[in-house]
């Protein structure tokens, strides 16, 4: 798994060098925070995550539309004190502080619609991303550690706004709603994802 991810990253970095020459291409680096919702918040981690980054690549296909791909990384953590849990069979019960970690990496294709010209000082946009998310869920209890790894379907409506700060750059901010669900359906990694960052237009 790690080898595939490393190979994909190396490929992406080389592709990035080529993409930087494309006039229709823009990219965004964002700092992402996240607020868990739904089952994720109710059953596992409710604490806000302050650790996240996003890399959003877009190609204009018409004046007001673009397609692209999004890569992200969000880290969640919460310590739950004195939790008592019994397994489904009802024969094992464990009590202790639980240290819960989730690392999730969304990998999605995106489409965006813009409500102003590229040159506008303020440019509103909305988008939809669909793809997958690879997530590692780790629960530490005492000296034991339990790890689950999931590939999940991820659908993410997004809205944002760009504020032009230079000829080729803009401040970008907005909100994503990451809806992800795992095959077993007894868990999900759904969260609200406010972000703030920079948009660059390679020249």
């Amino acid at each position: 798994m790690k080898k595939i991810i490393i190979a994909a990253l190396l490929l992406a970095s080389q592709a990035f060098c080529l993409m930087a020459q494309d006039a229709n291409y823009t990219f965004r680096f964002t700092y992402d925070v996240a607020i868990p919702t739904g089952k994720f918040s109710r059953d596992y981690i409710s604490k806000m995550s302050w650790r996240g980054i996003g890399f959003d690549n877009r190609w204009a296909i018409a004046e007001d539309y673009s397609i692209g791909f999004y890569l992200g990384w969000q880290v969640f953590y919460e310590q739950k004190s004195a939790v008592t849990q019994t397994n489904r069979a009802g024969d094992i019960t464990a009590t202790g502080d639980q240290f819960r970690f989730v690392n999730t990496w969304p990998i999605q294709l995106t489409g965006h619609k813009y409500f102003a010209d590229e040159e506008a000082e303020t440019r509103l946009w909305v988008g939809l991303a669909a793809g997958t998310a690879y997530s590692q869920r780790q629960t530490d209890l005492g000296l034991f550690s339990f790890v689950e790894k999931d590939w999940s379907f991820a659908l993410t409506p997004t809205a944002g706004v760009d504020f032009k700060i230079g000829l080729y750059s803009a401040l970008t901010m907005g909100l994503r709603y990451n809806w992800t669900t795992v095959a077993s359906a007894d868990f999900d990694y759904t969260y609200l994802n406010p972000f703030l960052g920079f948009r660059f237009i390679p020249n």
Partner: protein, 229 residues
């Protein structure tokens, strides 16, 4: 060179492309995940686990009323290679008896094995203290030499830094055996019906360890309501 000039941006993009390469390597390293932690106390890593060892055993049987507990705790620790015993063993036994009393059991006492055979449960207590040594080393990075340069600088050799850590752990194990089936035991199949384990770091003062041990024993029985008479 102005902030908005094409030349500035060509340079910036060139540097960003190089930075992406470095970030890719960095991301590959960190893709194994980030696991932040708040500061911890020893007791934060205490855990209490209870198991119904025999799924067919009927804990609600009203005929189960008595138990036999010897005034001995079996020490499973490796001799000469374990942290020194600190926990008050008599206190452990008293805590067990207190909890069994509260659950409604009667303790049969005496040193005669006949007494043990008359009880419904035979209770065994054991402890295990361990030294766990971990060896690790790492090489220092060459340092950061400003924008436009990344990677390992070949001029200098930084020797590896190594550490040896000892994580001392301790466990208290409480087992309930079905006395009626003691005659059927062999080395592989003890008639164990329930086991409780308090486990954690064997660190801190004797007073702290005794308190954590007592708390763990209480929790062990609190989370096993099916044992109540």
């Amino acid at each position: 060179m102005g902030f908005n000039s094409p030349l500035y941006y060509n340079t910036l993009m060139n540097r960003l492309s190089k930075l992406m390469g470095a970030l890719t390597v960095g991301a590959a390293i960190f893709f194994s995940g980030c696991y932040p932690l708040d500061p911890l106390n020893y007791e934060d890593l205490d855990a209490v686990v209870t198991v119904k060892s025999d799924p067919n055993f009927d804990f609600s049987d009203p005929n189960i009323k008595t138990y036999y507990l010897a005034d001995t705790i079996i020490d499973l620790s490796e001799p000469g290679n374990s942290p020194a015993p600190v926990v008050d063993r008599q206190k452990v036994i008293q805590d067990i008896i207190k909890n069994m009393d509260m659950l409604g059991y009667t303790r049969l006492t005496g040193v005669d094995s006949l007494v043990a055979n008359q009880a419904d449960y035979l209770m065994l207590l054991s402890v295990n203290r361990s030294n766990n040594y971990y060896y690790s080393y790492w090489y220092s990075w060459g340092g950061w030499y400003g924008w436009g340069w990344y990677g390992y600088y070949p001029c200098c050799y930084y020797p590896p830094t190594s550490t040896i850590s000892n994580v001392r752990t301790g466990a208290l194990i409480v087992q309930l055996m079905d006395v009626k089936r003691l005659g059927q035991i062999d080395e592989q199949h003890l008639p164990e019906v329930w086991v409780g384990v308090v486990q954690g770091l064997y660190e801190g003062s004797a007073q702290s360890l005794n308190q954590r041990s007592s708390r763990g024993i209480d929790q062990m029985f609190n989370q096993s309501p099916y044992l109540k008479r």
